[in-house]
C-alpha cells in the first residue's frame, strides 16, 4: 500500500519532488512489511481476508488478500529487488528533467506489482496485471521525445494487449465452469478444481460441465497471457525494444519482476493445465530459450544482449512449468531476479560512464554499443567484478545460485523426458545447448566490454587523459553489491551442489514429482554444463580478446541473429501493414460504397424533390394560374358589355325580359 501512497503523493505534488525520497521510503516500508509477512506466513497456514465488492445478479465478487507461500515469496522478492533499484536510480537519473515523473511511475509500478501477487481473485489479479502493463508502458516511453521510445512503448502495450485478451478468455472459461473467480475456492485444498474431473469427454465440475476441449483451452488462454507478459516466442518482440527506457527501469521491470508475473500467474493456476497444455508450454519455452540465445549471439547493444538473455531465461522457466516442476521454475525466477537485475545495473553503470564521456568529448557515438567499449576493467574494476559474478550466475557456474536453479530445471527436464519417451529428449538436449550458448554470449559481452583495449582511443586523440572514465558512484555501487551477494549460493541452499535441499523449493511444492529421479542425470548434466561453459569461454577469449575471430563478421548467420530472425520485419509486413491495409480498405469501402450508397439515396431524394418542385410549379400552380387566367379572360370578355352605349343596355334589358318570359311560360 505504501507505494500507492507514494504514487498519489507524487502525482499530486508534481515537479517539486526531485530526489525521490518519498518513493524510497515507501519501498523500504514495503520491504520491511513484506519481510515480516513472509516470515510469519512461510510454511504456515495461508491467510485470507475478504470484503464484498459488487454483486451482479446472483454472483457477488469479493475483494481480498490471499497470503500463502507463493504470494508471500513474491511479496518479499519484489521489494528486495526494488529497493536497490530505487537507491541506484537516485544516482543514475540525477539531473534528468522528468525525474519527478520517474518516481511517480516507479511507485505506481511497485504498487501494481505488489497488488498483483497478493490478490485472491483472478479478476483483481487481472486488474493489477493490466496496471503493471500500463506502468511498463509509461516507463518504457519515459523519454517520450525520442521517436524510438514512443514506438517501443506502443509496441509493448499492443503485444501485452494480446496477452490480456488471453487472460480475459481464461477468466471467462473459468467463470463459466466454476461460477467463481476466487483463488481459494478454485485452487485451495478442497478447491473446485480438485473436485472436477474429465468424464466421458466432458469436463465436469460441481457446478457446470463443458466439453473436454475447454479444459485445455482454459489453460492455454492463461498461457497466452503469460506468453505476452513474459515475452515468449512469438510474442517476445516487445522486450528488446523496451530497452529504450532507462536502465534502472529495465532492471526492475523487464528483468526481475514484471516479466516474472507471467510465471507467477502460471504457477498460481497450475492445476488448470491439462497434459497437452503443459506439453505445449514446454515446447514454447524451449523454442523461446533457443531462439533468444541465438539472437543474443549477434547483438552488439549491451542492453539488447541482456534483453535476449532475459527472454531465454524466461523460456527456461516456462519449460520448468511445462514439465510440472513449477517450484523449480519459481526458484529460477528468484535467482534470475537477482543476477539479472545486477547485470542490468552494471550495464547501466557502464552506459552512464560512456554517456559522460560522450558529453565531455563531444563525439557522436552510441554509449550502449559494445563495439565502442573495451578494456573497461581498468577504469571500472568494481563494476567489472560485480558484473562477472552476475554473469557466472547466469551461466550457471557452480557456487552461484544460478547453478542451483538452472540445474534444477535442466535435470528435471531430463528426468521428465526419460519418463515420457525418447522423443521428448529433444527438450533437455536443447536446454543443454542453450545453457552453453548462454555462457558463450555473456562471456562475449564481458570480453568485449571489459577486456582488451578501449576501442575509442583513436577517436579521442588523447582526450582520455583529460576526461578519464570513472568508476560508478557509490550510490550505484552499494545496491549492486547487495545484489551481488544474493547471487551466490548461501542464500538459497547450504549445499552448493544439490538443489533439492533448497528451502525455497521445499516450501513451494510438497508433493513428489510425477517422474522418477535419475541419479546419473544429477551427476552428468552439471558436469556437461560446466565443461561446456568453460570451453565456450575459452573460445570467446580467443575470439574477442585476442581478436582471432575466424569467421567473416558479416556472415549471414550473424546477420540473422542481429536482426532477431527478421521476426520484427515479418510482424511489420503481416500484421502492421495488414492492419493498415485493412483500414485503408475499410476507408475505401466507406467512402466509395457506403458514401456512394448514401449519396445515391441523396441524389434520389434530390431528384424526387426537384420533380415535386417541378410538379408544384407547373402543374399545381399551373392549374391554379390557369383557373385564374380563365376567370380573368372571362371577366375581360364579359366586361365588354359595359361599353357605355345606351343601346347595349336596352338590349340586355330586353334580352333578360325575353328569357324571363320564356322561362315563365314554358317551364
Amino acid at each position: 500500500m505504501s507505494p500507492l501512497a507514494a504514487f498519489l503523493y507524487q502525482s499530486l505534488l508534481g515537479k517539486r519532488d526531485q530526489s525521490g525520497i518519498v518513493s524510497l521510503l515507501a519501498i523500504a516500508l514495503s520491504f520491511t512489511g513484506g519481510g515480516l509477512t513472509w516470515f510469519t506466513i512461510w510454511n504456515n497456514a495461508p491467510v485470507t481476508v475478504q470484503a464484498d465488492w459488487f454483486t451482479i445478479g446472483e454472483t457477488s465478487f469479493k475483494v481480498g488478500i490471499l497470503l500463502n507461500n507463493l504470494s508471500t515469496l513474491m511479496l518479499f522478492l519484489v521489494p528486495t529487488v526494488a529497493l536497490p533499484v530505487h537507491v541506484y536510480s537516485r544516482a543514475y537519473m540525477k539531473g534528468d528533467p522528468g525525474i519527478h515523473r520517474y518516481w511517480m511511475y516507479l511507485s505506481l509500478f511497485c504498487f501494481a506489482m505488489l497488488g498483483l501477487v497478493i490478490m485472491d481473485s483472478l479478476l483483481l489479479m487481472y486488474v493489477f496485471w493490466e496496471l503493471v502493463g500500463f506502468a511498463s508502458y509509461l516507463l518504457i516511453g519515459f523519454w517520450f521525445t525520442r521517436e524510438t521510445a514512443i514506438q517501443a512503448n506502443k509496441k509493448a502495450f499492443l503485444v501485452n494487449r494480446i496477452g490480456d485478451l488471453g487472460f480475459l478468455i481464461g477468466l471467462a472459461i473459468v467463470f463459466t465452469q466454476f461460477k467463481t473467480l476466487n483463488l481459494v475456492d478454485l485452487f485451495g485444498d478442497n478447491g473446485l478444481l480438485y473436485q472436477s474431473a474429465i468424464v466421458d469427454g466432458l469436463w465436469v465440475s460441481p457446478v457446470n460441465s463443458l466439453p473436454q476441449i475447454w479444459f485445455t483451452l482454459g489453460g492455454l488462454a492463461f498461457f497466452l497471457a503469460a506468453m505476452a507478459k513474459s515475452a515468449q516466442f512469438p510474442l517476445h518482440v516487445w522486450l528488446p525494444d523496451a530497452m529504450e527506457g532507462p536502465t534502472s527501469v529495465s532492471s526492475l521491470i523487464h528483468a526481475a519482476t514484471m516479466v516474472a508475473a507471467g510465471v507467477f500467474l502460471l504457477a498460481t493456476v497450475f492445476p488448470l493445465f491439462s497434459e497437452s497444455a503443459l506439453l505445449f508450454i514446454a515446447i514454447i519455452g524451449t523454442i523461446t530459450a533457443a531462439s533468444a540465445a541465438y539472437f543474443a549471439l549477434g547483438q552488439y547493444d549491451i542492453k539488447r544482449i541482456l534483453a535476449f538473455s532475459t527472454i531465454s531465461q524466461l523460456g527456461f522457466m516456462m519449460v520448468g512449468i511445462g514439465i510440472g516442476t513449477w517450484d523449480a521454475a519459481l526458484f529460477h525466477l528468484t535467482t534470475h531476479a537477482f543476477f539479472k537485475c545486477l547485470l542490468f545495473l552494471s550495464a547501466g553503470a557502464v552506459i552512464h560512464e560512456m554517456a559522460h564521456l560522450k558529453t565531455h568529448s563531444q563525439l557522436d557515438f552510441d554509449p550502449q554499443d559494445l563495439r565502442n567499449m573495451g578494456g573497461l576493467r581498468h577504469y571500472m574494476p568494481k563494476t567489472f567484478v560485480l558484473m562477472s559474478i552476475a554473469s557466472l550466475a547466469l551461466a550457471g557456474f557452480p557456487l552461484t545460485s544460478g547453478f542451483l536453479s538452472k540445474d534444477s530445471i535442466v535435470i528435471s527436464s531430463f528426468e521428465w523426458a526419460l519418463s515420457k519417451g525418447n522423443l521428448y529428449l529433444i527438450i533437455p538436449l536443447s536446454l543443454i545447448i542453450v545453457s552453453i550458448l548462454t555462457a558463450f554470449y555473456i562471456g562475449r559481452l564481458l570480453f568485449k566490454a571489459f577486456f582488451g583495449e578501449f576501442r575509442l582511443t583513436n577517436q579521442l586523440h588523447g582526450k582520455l587523459h583529460d576526461h578519464p572514465l570513472h568508476e560508478a558512484p557509490k550510490t550505484m555501487l552499494m545496491p549492486m553489491f547487495v545484489l551481488g551477494v544474493f547471487c551466490l549460493f548461501p542464500l538459497f541452499s547450504f549445499n552448493p551442489f544439490s538443489y533439492h535441499d533448497s528451502w525455497l523449493m521445499d516450501g513451494l511444492l510438497s508433493d513428489e514429482y510425477a517422474f522418477a529421479p535419475s541419479h546419473i542425470a544429477h551427476l552428468i548434466i552439471p558436469a556437461i554444463l560446466f565443461l561446456g561453459s568453460v570451453i565456450g569461454w575459452i573460445i570467446g577469449w580467443k575470439w574477442y580478446v585476442q581478436h582471432r575471430y575466424p569467421f567473416n563478421p558479416a556472415n549471414p548467420a550473424l546477420k540473422v541473429s542481429l536482426n532477431q530472425g527478421y521476426i520484427n520485419q515479418f510482424y511489420d509486413v503481416v500484421f502492421v501493414k495488414g492492419t493498415l491495409k485493412l483500414a485503408q480498405f475499410c476507408y475505401w469501402f466507406d467512402r466509395h460504397v457506403v458514401d456512394a450508397f448514401v449519396s445515391l439515396i441523396q441524389s434520389i431524394v434530390l431528384s424526387i424533390s426537384q420533380l415535386s418542385v417541378w410538379i408544384d410549379k407547373y402543374i399545381i400552380d399551373g392549374f391554379v394560374n390557369t383557373v385564374a387566367s380563365v376567370t380573368y379572360w372571362t371577366g375581360h370578355q364579359v366586361r365588354l358589355v359595359q361599353n357605355g352605349k345606351i343601346q347595349t343596355a336596352l338590349y340586355s334589358v330586353f334580352l333578360i325580359v325575353l328569357l324571363g318570359l320564356i322561362y315563365l311560360l314554358f317551364f
Partner: protein
C-alpha cells in the same frame, strides 16, 4: 271577319319593329321613333280590347291618355337629345359612351 286576333297580330308586329328600331339605330331621333312605334302598338292593343267595354269605355280613354303621354315623352326626349347634341355635338348614341368601363 276581323276578329280581335288580327288586331293583336298587327300590334305585335308593330311592337317588334319598334323594338328593333330602338335597339339598332344609330340616330337618337330614330330611337325616339322606335319608342313611338312601341307606344302606338300598345295603343292599338288597348283600342282593340276596348271594343268590348261599353260600360266604361276604358280602352279608348286609356288610349287617349297614352297618346298624351307619348307626346309628353317625345317632347322631353327631344329636349334631352338637344342637350346631348349641345354637349357631345353628335346624336349618335354609340358616341355617348362616357360611362364606358375603361
Amino acid at each position: 271577319m276581323i276578329t280581335l286576333t288580327h288586331f293583336l297580330v298587327v300590334s305585335a308586329c308593330i311592337f317588334s319593329i319598334g323594338l328593333y328600331t330602338v335597339l339598332s339605330k344609330k340616330n337618337a331621333i330614330m330611337i325616339l321613333v322606335g319608342i313611338e312605334l312601341m307606344i302606338n302598338a300598345a295603343i292599338l292593343n288597348f283600342v282593340a280590347f276596348g271594343k268590348y267595354d261599353k260600360v266604361s269605355y276604358s280602352g279608348q280613354i286609356f288610349a287617349l291618355f297614352a297618346i298624351v303621354l307619348a307626346a309628353a315623352a317625345v317632347a322631353v326626349g327631344l329636349a334631352i337629345v338637344l342637350n346631348v347634341y349641345r354637349h357631345y355635338n353628335t346624336i349618335n348614341p354609340d358616341e355617348v359612351n362616357q360611362l364606358k368601363d375603361k
